[in-house]
């Protein structure tokens, strides 16, 4: 089975691709101007930020990048297409011939290009009396299209590909967090010789479902000795089936010409000078190679938070990678929310682990130090607050009846626990509070 994907992601820019309208949500037809409505006399001018993000994606996917690029007009008539042509890239994409490594398999990337989104049509009213409204807020929203070679071998692999690509792009260029649901995909799939294109499937889950259905349909046809027809099909989200779209448009039918209003862009230097962030999965692979850790651990490290992976790498400079894994994934990870923003404490964490590793202190002592570092931070952050022990003894001192009640029923401890939890506003884990309260009460009983 061969599967190839064409994915469209919205680029994270504040304004549209060719005008200064905002990309944020708004009431229908509020984020519009003469340019994105295609008014006669208006003219596009390229959003540099979109070009930059598009280029970093092309570079991240290891594409070949030409020195100059230009845009093209793809002409077709549709009510949501303001100019009845879409500005896209045809002969001159941002990048070609790249690849993405998916769980050790290399998936070819044919091209990466920029294009503008059309508007949206809403149909309102009962069947037979429907009225169509067009909302042009999305007209001109910048999209990047990524086209893969037909290198995926199953619907699950296609889904994993999109999933991992989104993780990477999210970190690379602040892609919208919702993109698993919003990603729009055209998928090619062939079980035998002939391929079928499923157009415009939205969301990760639907892509996998559509491909599964189509794989089964083609397999059944072939098993029955029938032929699969080369065609375009649509995925029906409700019925969870693909149906023939009965249209035969090929790319050439769009009568592409160059977009003369935008001219050429020399991007060689811009692409070279881009500072690419190390994305999570790339980093995971590097951690595996540099420190000999396994894939599960590496992914867990980078996907929890990139700063935890930073901590891990810091530890690796002082202790063995096994020790670093044990401590990072253990006590450090469980107290990470208190430590991650306090870089000044990191070296002390490292010192504690190193002392343990050198046999100078016990595991428990090292752990205690780390916990106290996490706690120390809280004390300095909210100076003037009594620490946990003080809060507990002060309350018991002030409420002698609690001790009396506790003697009759240990549940009386809950009064103290409740008070401390409230006072400390969740600064201490409930487990710690319960333990300390019991300890204090037992001491006094």
């Amino acid at each position: 089975m061969k599967i190839g994907l064409e994915m469209h992601f919205q680029l994270p820019t504040r304004s549209k691709l060719f005008c200064s309208c905002p990309t944020s949500a708004a009431d229908p037809n509020h984020n519009i101007c003469p340019v994105c409505l295609g008014y006669p006399g208006s003219r596009p001018s390229l959003n540099r930020k979109a070009l930059e993000v598009g280029l970093s994606i092309a570079r991240f996917l290891d594409c070949r990048i030409e020195e100059r690029v230009w845009f093209s007009r793809k002409t077709y008539f549709y009510p949501d297409l303001a100019k009845n042509f879409q500005i896209t890239q045809y002969e001159s994409p941002l990048g070609t011939d790249g690849h993405f490594d998916l769980n050790g398999r290399r998936i070819g990337i044919w091209r990466v290009h920029l294009e503008e989104d059309p508007g949206r049509i809403k149909r309102v009213g009962r069947s037979g009396e429907e009225v169509s409204f067009v909302d042009y807020n999305r007209s001109g929203i910048p999209l990047v299209e990524i086209v893969t070679a037909p290198d995926m071998q199953s619907p699950a692999e296609a889904r994993a590909f999109i999933d991992q690509l989104i993780i990477e792009l999210r970190s690379l260029c602040d892609l919208d967090a919702q993109d698993e649901q919003k990603v729009r995909v055209d998928a090619n799939i062939s079980v035998g010789e002939e391929r079928v294109e499923i157009k415009n499937v939205q969301g990760l889950r639907n892509v996998e479902r559509a491909l599964k259905f189509e794989a089964a349909r083609q397999t059944k046809l072939l098993a029955a000795g029938k032929k699969v027809i080369l065609e375009t099909r649509r995925y029906d989200e409700e019925r969870k089936v693909t149906t023939s779209a009965r249209e035969k448009e090929t790319e050439e039918d769009y009568g592409y010409i160059g977009e003369p209003d935008l001219g050429e862009f020399h991007i060689g230097q811009m692409a070279e000078e881009l500072d690419l962030k190390e994305t999570p999965l790339v980093r995971a692979r590097r951690l595996m190679a540099d420190h000999g850790i396994n894939e599960v651990t590496a992914k867990q490290l980078v996907l929890t938070s990139s700063s935890l992976a930073d901590m891990f790498e810091l530890l690796c400079r002082s202790v063995s990678s096994e020790k670093a894994v044990t401590w990072t994934m253990g006590p450090i990870s469980s107290n990470w929310s208190a430590l991650q923003d306090h870089h000044e404490l990191w070296s002390e964490v490292v010192a504690a682990v190193k002392a343990d590793s050198d046999g100078e202190i016990t595991d428990n002592e090292a752990k205690r130090r780390i916990l106290s570092l996490a706690g120390v931070k809280q004390e300095t952050a909210e100076a003037g607050d009594a620490d946990l022990d003080h809060m507990i003894s002060d309350f018991i001192d002030a409420h002698p009846e609690v001790l009396a009640n506790y003697r009759k029923n240990v549940k009386a401890a809950n009064t103290v626990i409740g008070h401390v939890m409230k006072e400390s506003r969740g600064r201490y884990s409930s487990k710690d509070v319960v333990e300390e309260v019991r300890k204090e009460l037992e001491k006094r009983v």
Partner: protein, 439 residues
Amino acid sequence: MSVPAPHELIRFAKERYHAFTEIAETFVDAEFHFSAKDNLCANGFQARAGSAILEGYVPPFDATPVHRLKTAGGQLVGKTTMDEFGFGTFCVNSAHGIPLNPFDIQRSCGGSSGGAGAAACLIPGHIALGVSTGGSISGPVSFCGVVGLSPTYGRVSRYGLIDYGNSLDKVGLLSRSATLVREHFQTIAGPDPKDPTSCAQPQLPTKGRMPDSLAVPKEALANLDPAVSKGFQEAVGRIQEMGVKVEEISMPSLRYAMPAYYILATSEASTNLARYCGMRFGRREEELNQHFNDFFSGVRSQSFGDEAKRRILLGTFCRMVGFRSRYYLKSLAVRQMLIEEYRKVFEDHQMVLTPTMPFLPPRFEDIRKMTPLEIYGADFLTIPPNLTGMPHVSLPCAYQQGLPVGMQLVSDHWREMDLLEMSSEWEGHFPYRFPEVGP
């Protein structure tokens, strides 16, 4: 005859000569009066580009050249008549009347900026914004006996211009004198972030240089009306008397310019015109309760003129699979070849000199007998500099049978000021005549 007030002349130019499609309701005491071709957007005026499909379109913004002239103290007094979307050589393809030649109302003003040519001729001191794609300034300038500049592609912002062929369209100026053209050209030229193609230009020099040698391609002298030939030869004599050398040369690629131009221009036009579908702006009379394809086809069938339809078909054909590389891509190569040929000439000469139009302003009755191909052929001298994006002026150079003959000077990219220098110098040696008309 007493001198009529400017606004009387403007009304007269509209009512008697159809030079304007719309004029201002009141005329203020401005620094100067100017007009804009109807494909340039301006607040408060319809911008219909000669087409019925844009009936009622009042753009919510000023085109940059309009804005700049207003800022310089000018009043926009009206929109001038044009061929629908610029598609024409004689300004007879307009939904809003046909402008009449001030030298002879039986004859054409030329196109597509025909109204601008008539206005420039009829109103002393008037400056008209015109637009040239393949000769739409030079043509009317020649037929109406005025001065016109089509600047280098990218010199004047096209923001607010209703497109014909975006890689060819240039906003320029028409007037009775080169001095006025120069003054206002300096106002409208210069980069504009709203038109990225205007942002790559070098700075406009404050003064131009007189050429010492002009080249006349012999290919341009074939197929001329004898009256034009005669007038042009007289002009060449005068230029030589001015101390400028004139040398005949050969430019064999000139003959490929016309087919290449029509392929590129119509390819671009057919995509530009796609947006006119009866939605969002302009005319909408079709019943809404039908399939979109039927709806927009209905609107377009009713509202586009024949020439617009012809060019949409031609352009769409050239873009289609199988023809794209044979026509569209090859034409891009021809354009490059022609630029190189001009450059070669510019190594030894500063400008290329030709007549502007191959014949005198034709009578409307004769135009009706011409085939589309014959009409396209009338542009064979104005198309080459337009295709290559080179600046050019057209100046009156002779009078034959009481009608003006125009000559065209082409220079290398960005050398408009040299052309205007030469134009001013020429005015000193050859006094222009204007027809005595008036309310």
